[in-house]
Amino acid sequence: MTEPQTRHITLRVNGQAREITTPVRKTLADALRTDLGLTGTHLGCETGLCGACTILVDGRAMRACLMLAVQAEGHAITTIEGLAPSPSELHPLQQAFCRHHALQCGFCTPGLLTTLVEFLHDVPNPSEAEIREAISGNLCRCTGYDTIVAATLEAAAMLRPQP
């Protein structure tokens, strides 16, 4: 190890405790991707602007590129890999994204999904305008967003408790 300052930390990711020794300057995104092999968290700008690396920290959407790994100790982290309930099932948002062609290259998709998980938890019955506002910090170059909005509306309906 050629890094002068390192720490041994425990990260709680997708319900599992994972121990790593990391340089103190390493971003959480890099730690997730390289130390834990969770490469579904994508880096599109490393300045917090594109939203691709968005993860959930204690249920709140955060930019993994703007956090250090050492800052995440003691918090519950959910990445895209932790969204689906099982290997044979998908989260309603994931199902709706596939049905509505809400992903093309799929690079921005993990960050959109995590952002929307938090959003639909807070706003279970959103308007189209509210959805657009909620994802206005997530850049997508492929879709033009309309299919993402449509998928989110459908997923919101699926997630709401049935009367």
Partner: protein, 783 residues
């Protein structure tokens, strides 16, 4: 218009689930940065901070001494291992006046901010960047060329200190009696336009991972390239390897949009570094590097005139295009050539002469971004038509209707030639009907009532339109092979490269249509030099047309072969058999069947035993169908805008996009391509601006400064379809990857003109920012 699609098809023309989604939706894609072999080292580049400077010294000693650093490479270090220290990639053209082949690394002169000078290989990217900052380079600053028009004026400094001028290339595209037409025309209009386009900004930046295999003395290079076979050829040439020593694979791509088809200095440096160190080496471009080193489109200055008769029929078009080429020739003159060639295509233009002058500047090299010059050519043509309509006093839609190439003249051979010298022949379509459909969809006729309502509320509403014709499906061929293996699975391999559009799904549909219609039984491999012997990759909206046509031909042949063999095995006539799912069955008697696995095993051969029947060995077919002529897609965009004259805000209220890309193999994928293109076009029209200061220092190097479309900026979009199957390929398809972007800037400009007609404001540049518009308004109201 009715959509016919593939009415008898089982999967073609259907919105089947994408094969790509199962992994991508779970974050289990395999993008280049996800590849991390054991022993991986990481690279960072030292890049020029100056737009133009002489390098007098490079000292890497401190960087090399940093713990964790394995190598620091300058051009002097790499040159002994290179057949050429330059990337000679310029496509052929007689138009070049300067040879601007960029170096693998800059050594004596840097000519744009971001040009790579040295590469550090270290244990981590963090350490590599630390070390790059320790490299000492001494520069002598040289005069800078920032503007393409100024670059061509007498006495301008040169972007390369030893170049005689900045004129990289010049050519004239001309036919007909232009001067005579202008001399006798009833109306002449003149426009001076400045058109900017920015970068591609795929959400995934570039990158590569080079993995040496010492056992076999070969390298695997995972690269975010749209053209893996071209990359292999160039890498083999420059590093001195033969084709079996180098495999180039494109993993999942996080978008391409043009610049990923270019061959870059980093491709050579990383591949060679891995070979020299005998360790895997990864370089992943960060977004700042993307702004200053990935090729982009940028500035064009158009000075154009149109002559019409008294009724507005075009007699001639002429003018000059000055094109910002950037500092090096990273591809060719195809962007300005494509721009000018696209200009007249939708219309009957009897005489045409456009001069192209490409100017070297001290900026990032210019190469195609989605649309590849065509949006600019369309912008110029449509601005002229609006001006002519005003001069004559007729409706903007009507002047277009009078000039569009009519359906009864298809195929319509123009005197224009493609870059390869082939005639540009519009193969099919009904352009006037497409315009009429779009106008109706946008309620063009009822607009004045909406304008009046808006005006009553103090808002300025306008409507505008633009037509385009897009050259798609550039040949000459694409490779597709299909094998049915003894597992019964169908394996498709192609030289086409997927960039995220759903290429694998599209090819699987074509193949499955002939071979059982079970999409889950088809495995598609794209963009891998090991899987396909040759390939031209992704560009020019070509993959559905070229790879799709080869896939169709190969699948049809293989289907016949499967049925022949099954007929022999089952002792029935092949005509009485059909492939359903993973088996061949007797029509109407599904219990009489042989699985594809059984058939494949029957002809797999066993040493010493004869094959059954007359069938010959194996179940495979490969095709490289040659289609030289391009197929031309077309469309019309109508934009309706509202402008706040206090703030300059331009809100697009509704965008109607009517188009014809022939038969749609997957309507939802087609719409996805169009919507992405439309969003990109709106960005180009209103937001995206790659800014430089007057020393050619880039001013927009983050996504906070360079504005991409967000969800809140997207207007209501209506897409309307027409279907004129191309006669040039069996499936009747035309490309659609770039169409969406092409007419948007022109339509939005037309709408802004219309909204602000009280102020006589004419949009003559893109993008149009609120700040620009306010300045124009201030001017107009006598400021």
């Amino acid at each position: 218009m009715t959509k016919t699609g593939f009415p008898d098809a089982r999967v073609l023309g259907q919105d089947v689930p994408r094969l790509e989604d199962a992994k991508l939706i779970r974050g289990q894609g395999r993008f280049v940065d996800d590849i991390a072999p054991p022993g991986l080292l990481h690279a960072a580049f030292l890049r020029s901070p100056h737009a133009h400077a002489a390098i007098t010294a490079i000292d890497t000693s401190q960087a090399l001494a940093l713990p964790g650093v394995h190598a620091v490479h300058t051009l002097d270090d790499l040159a002994p291992h290179l057949a050429d220290t330059r990337l000679v990639v310029a496509m052929p053209s007689p138009s070049y006046r300067l040879d601007l082949h960029r170096p693998v690394l800059a050594r004596h002169e840097v000519v744009h901010v971001g040009e790579p000078i040295a590469c550090v290989i270290a244990d981590s990217r963090y350490i590599a960047e630390d070390a790059a900052a320790l490299i000492e380079v001494e520069y002598d600053i040289l005069p800078v060329v920032t503007d393409c028009e100024a670059a061509l004026q007498d006495g301008a400094p040169t972007a390369h200190r030893n170049a005689a001028s900045n004129l990289v290339a010049e050519m004239t595209i001309a036919y007909g009696a232009v001067e005579d037409a202008f001399a006798t025309a009833a109306h002449r209009v003149h426009e001076k336009l400045w058109i900017h386009r920015g970068g591609s900004h795929s959400m995934e930046c570039r990158g590569l991972v080079a993995i040496p295999d010492p056992v076999e003395d070969r390298l695997t290079v995972w690269s975010s390239t749209q053209m893996p076979h071209a990359a292999r050829r160039l890498l083999c040439d420059i590093i001195g390897l033969h084709e079996r020593q180098l495999r180039v694979v494109t993993p999942d791509l996080g978008g391409g949009f043009g610049p990923k088809l270019i061959f870059y200095p980093e491709d050579v440096v990383i591949t060679l570094a891995a070979r020299l160190l005998a360790r895997p080496v990864k370089w992943i471009e960060d977004r700042r590097e993307h702004f200053i080193s990935t090729t982009q489109e940028r500035d064009q200055a158009w000075d154009v005139e149109m002559a019409t008769d008294a009724e507005g029929r075009i007699q001639a078009v002429r003018g000059v295009l000055i094109h910002d080429h950037g500092a090096w020739t990273a591809r060719g003159v195809n962007v300005p050539q494509g721009a000018v060639s696209a200009m007249p295509l939708a219309y009957v233009v009897p005489a045409f002469r456009m001069q192209i002058r490409a100017a070297a500047t001290n900026k990032v090299p210019v190469t195609p971004v989605r649309g590849a010059g065509q949006p600019q050519g369309v912008f110029a043509m449509e601005r002229l038509l609006d001006a002519a309509a005003r001069a004559i006093g007729i409706d903007r839609a009507e002047i277009r209707r009078r000039n569009l190439v009519p359906a009864d003249r298809m195929p319509y051979e123009t005197p224009i030639r493609t870059r390869g010298g082939l005639p540009v022949t519009l193969d099919s379509g009904d352009y006037p009907a497409c315009q009429a459909m779009t106008l109706q969809g946008a309620d063009w006729a009822g607009f004045e009532a909406r304008r009046a309502t808006a005006r009553a509320a103090g808002r300025y509403r306008g409507i505008g339109l633009a037509n385009y014709v897009e050259a798609t499906g550039r040949g000459p061929f694409e490779h597709v092979s299909i094998r049915i293996e003894p597992s019964g699975r169908i394996f498709v391999a192609t030289g086409a490269a997927a960039m995220g559009q759903g290429t694998a799904t599209m090819l699987a549909q074509i193949v499955a249509e002939q071979l059982g219609a079970d999409m889950s039984n088809v495995v598609v491999t794209t963009g891998d030099t090991e899987a396909a012997p040759t390939g031209l990759g992704g560009s020019n909206s070509r993959q559905a047309v070229m790879a799709g046509s080869s896939a169709h031909a190969a699948a049809t042949r293989l289907r016949d072969r499967v049925l022949d063999i099954a007929g022999e095995l089952m002792e029935v006539a092949p005509a009485d058999l059909e492939i359903v799912g993973r088996a061949v069955q007797l029509k109407g008697v599904p219990q009489m069947r042989r699985t594809l696995a059984e058939i494949a095993r029957a002809v797999a051969g066993q040493a010493g035993f004869v094959l059954p029947g007359q069938s010959g060995p194996g179940l495979a077919a490969a095709e490289e169908l040659v289609i030289d002529a391009m197929t031309y897609a077309n469309g019309t965009a109508v934009a309706e805008v509202e402008i706040d004259i206090e703030t300059g805000e331009i809100a697009v209220a509704h965008l109607v996009f009517g188009h014809d890309c022939g038969r749609a193999m997957h309507p939802r994928l087609v719409e996805g391509q169009l919507m992405g293109g439309i969003a990109h076009g709106l960005g180009n029209a209103l937001f995206e601006f790659m800014a430089y200061d007057d020393t050619a220092q880039p001013l927009t190097t983050t996504l906070a400064e360079y504005l991409l479309m967000t969800a809140t900026e997207m207007p209501r979009v209506t897409i309307l379809h027409m279907e004129s199957p191309s006669p040039l390929n069996a499936l009747g398809i035309k490309g659609v990857g770039e169409a969406g972007v092409i007419p948007i800037g022109a339509a939005v400009a037309s709408a802004i003109d219309d909204a602000l007609s009280d102020f006589a404001i004419k949009i003559d540049r893109l993008p149009i920012s609120p700040v620009d518009l306010l300045a124009r308004l201030d001017q107009a109201v006598g400021g």
